[in-house]
Symmetry: C2
Subunit: 402 residues, 2 copies
Amino acid sequence: MATDEELPVCADNLPGGERSAGLVRPQCFTFAEPPGEMLLECGERLGPITLAYETYGRLNEARDNAVLILHALSGDAHVAGYHSSEDRKPGWWDTYVGPGKPFDTTKYFVICSNIISGCKGSTGPSSANPATGRPYGLSFPVVTIGDMVRAQVRLMDHLGIARLLSMAGGSMGGFQVLEWIVRYPERVASAIAIGTTARLSAQSIAFNEVGRQAIMADPNWMGGDYYGKAAPTAGLAIARMIGHITYLSDEQMHAKFGRRLQDAERLAYGFKTEFQVESYLKYQGDSFVRRFDANSYLYITKAMDYFDLVAGSGSLVEALALVRAEMLVVSISSDWLFPTYQSKEIVRALKANGVPTTFMEIKSGYGHDAFLLPNESLAGTIAGFLANVHRRVRRAGEGARP
Amino acid sequence: MATDEELPVCADNLPGGERSAGLVRPQCFTFAEPPGEMLLECGERLGPITLAYETYGRLNEARDNAVLILHALSGDAHVAGYHSSEDRKPGWWDTYVGPGKPFDTTKYFVICSNIISGCKGSTGPSSANPATGRPYGLSFPVVTIGDMVRAQVRLMDHLGIARLLSMAGGSMGGFQVLEWIVRYPERVASAIAIGTTARLSAQSIAFNEVGRQAIMADPNWMGGDYYGKAAPTAGLAIARMIGHITYLSDEQMHAKFGRRLQDAERLAYGFKTEFQVESYLKYQGDSFVRRFDANSYLYITKAMDYFDLVAGSGSLVEALALVRAEMLVVSISSDWLFPTYQSKEIVRALKANGVPTTFMEIKSGYGHDAFLLPNESLAGTIAGFLANVHRRVRRAGEGARP
């Protein structure tokens, strides 16, 4: 059991203090060893598959306190705490995950799972293809959100978790949440979907495609076969810059940067970085290429484009007909990538199916990425939602005992 | 006089029929010959300068019926009619310019002026630098909207137009309109600013910068020195694709493309163009590179980024203090590039200065580019606005006669 392998929490020595999840160890789970490869939606088989994950807190004896957290496009399994006392930054959702925080690691066994096709410890295009010993590159099969979730189901089996108390994810993490509740209704007691959509819009596909075109136009990309050589960093940086604009709001960009110049009093009348907003974007692009693989960017954005809960069903109402999880759906008022109307479509379809659903719109000017920032209203709602669900699950569990 | 050189209108032979502006001849005006080069805002001098333009209708004896139309980023001087009877498409605003149309060429002498730094017949980075005999490339000075307008003022002098009855422009054409009414208040009786802003937002600068980065990352760009060699078409296509997303609305993209596939029944699980929206964007990018110069894209977007009527003034109200033109300000409900709130800022500041101002928001789902499409409400408002202004100008002119 992963829980027995937890490192001791030494909160005193960590920047996060006593509310930090403390030191946490990256973990891996490998499955689908040949000849038992996983059949993917595209029809190809993939294996062995390694999934990176982290866990926080302890699984209780009833095994009814597990909460799975799923990340967005550029995220990873390191959701909270620190890998070492030298780390300058904690995990990506440390504000919400830790002792006394909304995902309270003194109460819940929190798991954060990475995704296949990524580049953060799980099997993806940069992994060695066992058939050749060389990185897959573009011979890696195109995976879907459904494939990512199927791999996570195997991880839950491995951890001995038959049914999750809850799960949560924002953005593409929300896609995974929706896929989970539709495909594995019996394994999810409740779920939290934040700043997400039931199917990617044409506009979002368009932004993703331009990012992919920028990567594939980079001469270093070489059909995806660039490992061990210079990476297509220029193309990937442009893709990230495009993405980053969509994660912020017009309002926030105005407040944060306006038309201020970076290092000058006057206009330079040239083409070097000049406005603060340009400098910020360039920094986002340049730092991203040091921590992300360009091919993974292609694969993950493609999985996002393919995400469509309605396809194959007549409607979103029919698509959500089997959902049994109690739901919390959260949108952000200034999110124009996955606007509130898209969350409301999900809420309406859930309610049409009689699914107990709470909806909240966070009033925030910070755009799509607002769910990553501290927000008292979001924190309180998540904490209350989880406590209520846990109470009901326990009561149901006790009632069911002989 | 340009008006005497007009080609006969042979409407019967043209696709546009009797409401077409008919055959029109591209014209050029060259000025600022050395040593009389024009001093630009950047402090450099430029000359000789050629400005491409077209005219429609006839300047009347009182010279009080001239209307100047200004185009957006990728536009040109060919606003209406045809260059030859073989042309498949008329000018870019043919819907609004022609006999009996809002800019009625039987009543008004319509001029459309190109911009310096462009690539549509006017002096720009692809023009030969007289000092070297080779294309300017990046040695071309960075011009501003103010510089573009100063060149247009010289064209009006050349055409013998002391005062314009009106002027109109959408998007960056609107920047030029605003610059005109602020810098040359005595030369403009009225003006129409459509889907525009008084200063470019951080978000718009961000989109422009990513487009420029895509061009400059293209190895064919070679510091702008690519003339006579392979052009940086991949980078320019990406820049255009980014721009094009911002010209449409989420709503329109959903209606026009949704998640439909281009040529297939099923997902391809690969990275070729697959969704209709991808195919559309690719077409936009690919066709753009055949008609536009990458360096001009850099220069024009930079001029847009620099556009800020407030800079140098304490406020927009102060910036517009000298305006004497009667104004029509038009926004588009689904325009998220230059949203309605930005038009309203202009309207408020004009009204604070006592400028007679009409504001209308076009209810349209077509986004920023809606002003290029037929719209009865916009057409009727422009026609009425021009007729009223013309009546007042004539009355004032008659009253002023001895």
